[in-house]
């Protein structure tokens, strides 16, 4: 297995009370899969994505990437893993407002992976072409529509040729056309051999998935 979570559980304590964000859940994904995480709002889809990608640490259970437990990773090693092997797409596109589109796409390279200005800019223009934004390279984020922004984020997620793409409601803020474009891109990546994990409640998005995992706070999640 490329990535797997065993009995993952996440609780928060707030005002002395324990809140269950994710009931114990097990999941395993491999290269070439496009897994859709579904479930009602508050069932813990985002929480599970964060645990699997190492952005958050589980209260119980273990995440394994290529059979190596993430709990044994140092901060630096977990960061390096995210940089090299993971790509992120969020519901609302997070971009740095003071950087151009091209600089935003290249952001992960300041933390590892591709280096050398020439190599980076070549890869960036290739990716912008791939997502259909070649002419926007020198624009700033505030000059782009939300559909375009989400494609910039998509390009950024791909820059270090990750093995796993995490997408949290990638179509949540998009109209049908733009949603379709982003979903096609995700599908394309999974066909090309990447592992894609996507949280969504969009029925259209689920159709692109190769597999679904339905989360329910009150029951163990089960694969449908």
């Amino acid at each position: 297995m490329l990535l797997q979570g065993d009995n993952l559980r996440r609780e928060f304590t707030f005002a002395g009370k324990s809140i269950t964000a994710l009931a114990p859940t097990s999941v395993a994904v491999d290269a070439g899969e496009l897994l859709a995480l579904t479930g009602p709002s508050g069932s813990g889809k985002s929480t599970l994505l964060n645990l699997l990608s190492g952005l958050d640490r589980p209260t119980g259970g273990e995440v394994r990437f290529e059979d190596q437990p993430l709990s044994g990773f140092s901060d630096a090693r977990a960061a390096a893993l995210r940089n090299a092997a993971f790509g992120f797409i969020f519901q609302t596109p997070h971009l740095l407002p003071y950087k151009t589109v091209a600089e935003n796409v290249a952001l992960p390279c300041s933390y590892g992976g591709l280096h050398g200005n020439a190599a980076i800019s070549e890869r960036v223009s290739g990716l912008l072409e791939y997502v259909g934004l070649a002419s926007h390279a020198t624009h700033f984020p505030h000059m782009l529509s939300s559909g375009e922004l989400q494609r910039v984020v998509f390009a950024r997620a791909l820059i270090n040729r990750p093995r796993v793409l995490f997408a949290d409601e990638p179509t949540g803020s998009l109209d049908a056309d733009n949603a379709h474009r982003v979903l096609s891109l995700l599908r394309q990546e999974s066909v090309a051999g990447k592992c894609v994990i996507m949280a969504t409640h969009d029925a259209e998005a689920m159709r692109f998935a190769t597999r679904r995992l339905n989360l329910d706070k009150f029951a163990y999640a089960k694969t449908v």
Binding site: T47, N50, A76, A79, F88, L96
Partner: protein
């Protein structure tokens, strides 16, 4: 630890995000700038005072002890002060000279200020000095033309004189020319090399401009003695250069010898330039403590302002921090980013403060007449202390940023 090129990347990002908030950034940098202004002004004024003190001491001679007569500081009741031989005298000088032996040279003199001297049709108001031949040697005077005074001039009561460089020009005097001083004539035997003034300010000694003085042998100098032919106005002891460490001891003994001879009525003043050095150092240290405290306080206040601004920057950029962590930033790199941010902010303030501080010091020089001097070390200390303030006060916000949980940071709206 981030590598140098990574720190460079972080400073570039920090600089752009600093420029996004020009007003906030400049206001917080201003606090640091004020601290640096105080620091630069302190250092340059202190450095100026030090150089003045050093000039003064080298003008007076580090290996000299100077004695001048002065109104009595203390007199026992019952002692008829008027009956004491109140002035210093040749006898005092000879006693000290005998004690001194080969350790150094002692010269003595009488003087009269603002005396009219004339040569042919030219005249000038000058200081006339009647000096022992050793005095010229002890003051390290040199002849540009002719000769200096000799012991025999005094012994044989020759009516000769030596002119200061500027006086020689004023009087258009040349060797062998007669010069009238008071109601007597003396003939010029030498002209001195330009030497300038004795820098006596703040020492209690009388000023003396060598370039504008007429120096004649002690006994024949045209100076009104009011009956006291042996009266001496001042003495100068210059120790041999290998004995200069004995300056304090010599000064002490000299005081004892003079005190014994006049039943401890202190009607003279002993000035030890060597001790002035310590005095100057003490006042300088005091000045630097006061100004340093001011500079330190304003840097502290400025630093707290920077910390405050950095905390709100971190709070505002929570999502950006989460994003950077998601794409692979380690906690060390987040710390580096915000330390760069804070130190660039402070450095900007430091550079502005450096400019303003130099300007302030120059204004002090022009309007208050204080000496200022700039040293490369002092100037670089300004921006350096600003950067250090940035690192110190940026550390807490940076640690706070690095401690964020990326998943929660990304949820922030």
């Amino acid at each position: 630890m981030p590598k140098p090129f990574e720190i460079l990347l972080d400073s570039r990002d920090a600089w752009s995000s600093l420029r996004r908030r020009p007003v906030r950034s400049s206001l917080s940098a201003l606090g640091i700038a004020i601290g640096v202004v105080a620091l630069i002004a302190m250092l340059s004024i202190g450095e100026g005072a030090k150089q003045v003190a050093l000039q003064r001491i080298s003008s007076l001679g580090i290996d000299t002890v100077r004695v001048e007569s002065a109104p009595p500081l203390n007199a026992y009741a019952g002692i008829d002060v008027a009956n004491l031989s109140l002035s210093l005298s040749v006898a005092d000088a000879e006693r000290i000279s005998a004690w001194l032996g080969t350790r150094g040279t002692l010269g003595y003199f009488v003087r009269n200020d603002e005396q009219l001297v004339a040569a042919a049709s030219r005249r000038a108001l000058v200081t006339v000095v009647g000096a022992s031949a050793d005095w010229l040697a002890a003051e390290a005077l040199e002849a540009a033309a002719g000769r200096l005074l000799l012991p025999s001039d005094d012994a044989r009561q020759r009516r000769v004189c030596v002119l200061g460089a500027r006086l020689a020009v004023t009087l258009a005097a040349s060797i062998a020319m007669p010069v009238r001083a008071g109601n007597q004539l003396c003939s010029v035997v030498g002209v001195l090399r330009p030497k300038g003034r004795l820098l006596t300010e703040g020492t209690g000694l009388s000023a003396l401009d060598f370039d504008n003085a007429l120096i004649a042998p002690f006994r024949t100098a045209p100076i009104p003695r009011r009956g006291a032919r042996d009266r001496v106005d001042g003495m100068l002891v210059r120790l041999r250069s290998d004995a200069s460490a004995q300056v304090p001891g010599v000064a002490e003994n000299l005081t004892v010898i003079l005190g014994d001879a006049r039943r401890d009525v202190t009607n003279y003043r002993v000035v030890v330039p060597y001790a002035l050095l310590n005095e100057a150092r003490d006042t300088q240290i005091l000045f630097q403590l006061v100004m340093g405290a001011i500079a330190g306080l304003s840097l502290l206040v400025g630093g707290i302002g920077v910390m405050n601004v950095m905390l709100s920057n971190v709070a505002e950029q929570t999502r950006e921090i989460g994003l950077r962590m998601a794409v692979g930033a380690t906690r060390a790199r987040i710390i580096s980013l915000y330390l760069c941010h804070a130190s660039l902010l402070c450095l900007a303030g430091g550079v502005v403060g450096l400019g303003l501080g130099v300007a302030a010091a120059l204004l002090v020089q022009v309007y208050a007449g204080w000496a200022v001097a700039f040293s490369a070390l002092g100037l670089s200390l300004g921006p350096l202390s600003a950067v250090i303030a940035g690192l110190v006060f940026g550390l807490h916000p940076a640690l706070r940023a690095a401690a964020l949980n990326p998943a929660l940071a990304l949820r922030e709206s």
